[in-house]
Structure formats: C-alpha cells, structure tokens
Amino acid sequence: MSQIVVEGLTKTYQIAEREPGPWGAVRGLFRRRYRRVVAVRDVSFSVESGELIGYVGPNGAGKSTTIKILAGILVPDSGRCRVLGRVPWRERVAHTARIGVVFGQRTQLWWDLPVIESFELLRDIYRVPETVYRKHRDELVDRLELSPLLDTPVRQLSLGQRMRCDLAAALLHGPAVLFLDEPTIGLDAASKLAVRDFLWEINRERNVTILLTTHDMDDIEALCSRVIVIADGEVFYDGSLEGLRARVTNERRLIVDLEDPGLPLRVEGAVEIQREGHRRVLSFDPTKTPTPLLIADVTAKYPVRDLFVENPPIEEIVAQLYRDRER
C-alpha cells in the first residue's frame, strides 16, 4: 500500500488587498478586497514506502503549500490525501507523531539552550520512551557527527551545523516519513554534501520515505530516483530523472580535451557549443549520432588527451521545461 496518496489537492489563498492612500487602511477595516491566488491545483501523486522524491518548481509554484498540507499544517480546499493511512489535517496530533518535518529556513531547536537539551525536550514532546530515545539519539549523533556540538547553545552554531542538528531533531522519534522544505538552502558545499549523504543513508538503511523540495538541482541529481515538477500549482512532470531529460531533449555532451588548444574541432553530427583552452564541449543527439561512433570519429581525427560524455545540467532541463510550457 502507498504511504502517501494525494488526489486532486487544491488550495487557494485569499490575499487581502489594501487600498492605497491614507484612507486605505481605515477603509480596509470595514471592507476588504481579496485577491484569490491558487497555490496548488488538482495535484495528485502517490509515494511508496522507501522512495526518495524530489519536488521541484520555481518560487511560488506551490511546493511549500503541498508540504504544509502533507505535514498537517494546512487544510486544503478540496482533494483527498492520506499519509500513513491518516488524513493529515483531521488527525494532526496522531499524524505529526509519525512524521518528521524540516524547514531549511527555520529551526525547531531552542535558541538559547545546548543542542542536547533541545533533543531531550523533543523526546518529551513526542513521548519517546527513554530506551528508544537513547538508541535513536546515539545513532543520529554518530551519523551526523554531532558529539562536539551537543553542549553548544544553538545560537552559536553555524548554519551547516544547525541543519545537521535539525535533521537529527526531526528523526529522534523515528518517523517513517520525512518531509524537507529546502534542506540545503544557504549551506556551504561541505555541509550540503553531509546533508545529502545522510539523507541517502537513512533512506537506504532505515527505509525512511523522503519527500524534499529544493532549488538545488545537485540535490536532485545526487539523491532522487523520482522527480515531481510543479509550476503554477500544477504537476506537469512525475517520473524518473532520465525520463525528465528525455522529455525535454535527447541532448548529450561530449567533453574533449585536445592536445593542441589552437585547433578547431569539427565533426559530423555534433556542434561545438563551448571552447575554453584545451577543452571543447560538443552537443549531440545520441539517437542520430551514436556515442561510440562520435568518439571514434573524434579520436581518429584529433590528438586527444581526455574525453567524457555528460548529460546537460538538470537546471537547464528544468528551465527549458518551463519555457516549453509557457509557449
């Protein structure tokens, strides 16, 4: 059975508009004008146990709204949704005891207290039995390398350290499903890697189902077997990363480092799109020009130091997808 089932989820916000001028505020007290903004429209998907899914889209596309509905924070206007068999907004308390949520921009730790105290408070809030708590805590401290941080007040932690602590905080009660809203936002490269490695591990080893939103396509590329792309509140792609690429373009890239930097690189069935020192980047379509033939062609014609094949970066794919959609 699916762990998360979402069917036809729709959520509209009413935004109060204030009339301009000094009388606007006064008039607003009596008569408000509202603008309706559709945050998510008819969103449907389902998630099996142990999946790791990237939820992608531009700002204001409805990613956070979806997460908030799944986390039991918001009630949708219409549509159905079950997470671990429960309707999140109807049984908020029972539901939130079984899930973990991390907001990249916020911390749920106690600002002025040492990290370990926050963990203990969360143990009591979530009613985690002491033995279970110890087991989870030790495992998380070990994996996220938190032991040097435990006695530090949260306000003294760097962003990367804080995010590692927040991840541990969200998992102390052993949730089966983890929702993450922009978990790598603002982090330095090393912290991003640490977060990604950790998510990968708990997904593989503890079989935690993960749904994460992100702007960082490297997160998606590193972690997610499945991607859901949303724009203007509607899902318009749900499938594998390869499928997403194939839908937009078949393009591959052959990166060639030539012995002679001065030489122009001309081969049939491929276009040079970038030239920098010894390096040339060729763009080609492998359905028309098979990759082995192209490589053979290049190495036959030119002295080559090194060469490798790449996919176009996922940012470009998604950007292209949005452009295609608007057209």
Binding site: R92, R106, D112, P153
Partner: protein, 266 residues
C-alpha cells in the same frame, strides 16, 4: 509525559535559557520594581491628602491594589508566548508548533516564564502585606482558601485576555490596542473598589470583562465589608468562577483561530 508535566518541563527550560543572561535579568527586575513602585506612590499621595475616599480607607484600597497586581504579575510572567504570538504568525514560525504532536495552546503558553516580572510581584506583595497588617486580617484557613481562589480567578481572567489578544493575530496583522486597553485598563480599574465608578463601568466590569467578579466581590468577602452596592457577601465565594469561565471562552476562541489559520494559511 502528560501535558501538565510537559508544561513545567518547558517552563523550566525557558528559565535555564534566561539564566544565560543574568545581568540583564537583574537590571530588568530592578527597573520593573521601581517602575511599579511609583504607581502605588500616586495612590498613597491621593489618600495622604483626603484620608479616605467615599468610605474606603487607604489600607482597603491597598488591599485591592496588592491582590490585583499579584495576580496580574503572575499572569503576565507566564504570558510571553502569547505576547509575542503575532510575530510568530507573521514569520510563519507557528508552523513549527503545528508539526508537533501536542496542543498548540500548551506549547505557546509554555514558551517562556519571564522571571524579571518578580519586580512587580514583590512590590505588590509588600503592599498586600502592609494592607493585611493594617486591616488586622485573620489568616484563618477558609480566609486563605478564599484568597487563593480569588487570586486564581484573577490570574485566569488576565490570562484569558492575553490569549484573546494573541488570537486576534490569526485574523489581522494590525496590532489591536483595544485589547491592551481592556487588559491594562482592567488592572488600573481593579486597583480601586468598583463602588467608586459610574454604573455603566461597573456593569462592564461585572458582566463584560468580569474583573469585579474576581476582585471586588471576593475582596469584600475577605475584608468582611458589606457591599455598598447591596450584593450579599457569599457572592464573593462564587464569582471568581467567572475568571475560569472567561479563560474557557478564550481558549475556545483560540481553537477557532487555529482552525482559521489552518484553512487560510495566512
């Protein structure tokens, strides 16, 4: 862990957090003490000139002043979470409360105990002690019980006003000074017997925001003073219930507010 125990556990954590800023704690407490001390000085000055006002002596008024301020400072000390609640809604941090498997009101109420409010509390205790001594109160068990019951009702009433004020944040981002006026006006009004006020104000303080129920009537019973307005003394044993009822109403309004927030997300 039960909700009650969790509440005190979180309050304890907030005290440990404040202890990180010891100097600030002492300075604020002293400032608060001086600030509220001046208030009582004004009342004293009034009575020094007139001896008594419409049949009420200074120790009697001091008894009113002491009890209402003890209750208010206790309610105020526990009020930090609701006091800062508007900010929590605007910044979206309320979402962090909603993702935890506990009552929202409990989590907000347990956010912080403001220790620095001991300034006002100790000052009102001194005034209360002086008044009790001057009035030769008995300190019998049932007297103490009624005193406790009165204070409890008053704390509940003020806390209810704080909860209502915070609840408004679910509907509007403007800071509504109306509730503040009622809360602080209520403290001011409760420092004197309502018999001194005009009828419309007396009615408002009895049936609207029932400050008289938790203050005037039980204090008459405590002082054994017949009501110049004619209510029998036993009323004072019942009327503090109004404070509890008011808190019940406020918590109900709070739940409506949470429901509104969750359906609008604003």
């Amino acid at each position: 862990m039960s909700g009650f125990r969790l509440y005190w556990r979180l309050i304890g954590a907030s005290i440990r957090a404040q202890m990180q800023y010891r100097a600030s704690f002492w300075m604020h407490s002293v400032a608060h003490l001086v600030d509220t001390g001046l208030e009582f000085l004004a009342i004293w000055a009034l009575f020094a000139r007139f001896r008594q006002v419409l049949g009420w002596t200074l120790p009697e008024v001091a008894f009113f002043y002491g009890t209402i301020n003890i209750a208010f400072s206790i309610a105020d000390a526990f009020n930090r979470g609701f006091d800062l609640f508007g900010q929590k809604v605007r910044s979206g941090d309320f979402d962090l409360i909603l993702i935890r498997p506990r009552s929202t009101a409990l989590q907000i109420a347990a956010q912080e105990l403001r220790l620095m409010r001991v300034g006002r509390l100790s000052q009102s205790c001194v005034v209360f002690g002086w008044a009790s001594w001057k009035l030769n109160v008995l300190w019998s068990p049932e007297w103490c019980l009624l005193l406790l019951w009165t204070l409890l009702g008053t704390v509940a009433l003020f806390y209810a006003l704080f909860v209502l004020q915070a609840t408004l944040a679910f509907w509007t981002t403007e800071t509504l000074e109306v509730v503040n006026a009622v809360t602080y006006g209520g403290v001011e009004a409760g420092q004197y017997p309502i018999a001194l006020y005009r009828p419309w104000l007396r009615e408002f303080l009895t049936y609207g925001v029932p400050i008289a129920c938790v203050n005037y009537y039980p204090i008459l019973a405590l002082l054994g003073k017949p009501d110049p307005l004619g209510a029998p003394l036993w009323v004072g044993w019942l009327s503090p219930l109004a404070g509890m009822a008011f808190l019940g109403v406020a918590l109900f309004a709070w739940e409506l507010g949470v429901r509104h927030y969750r359906s609008t997300g604003s």
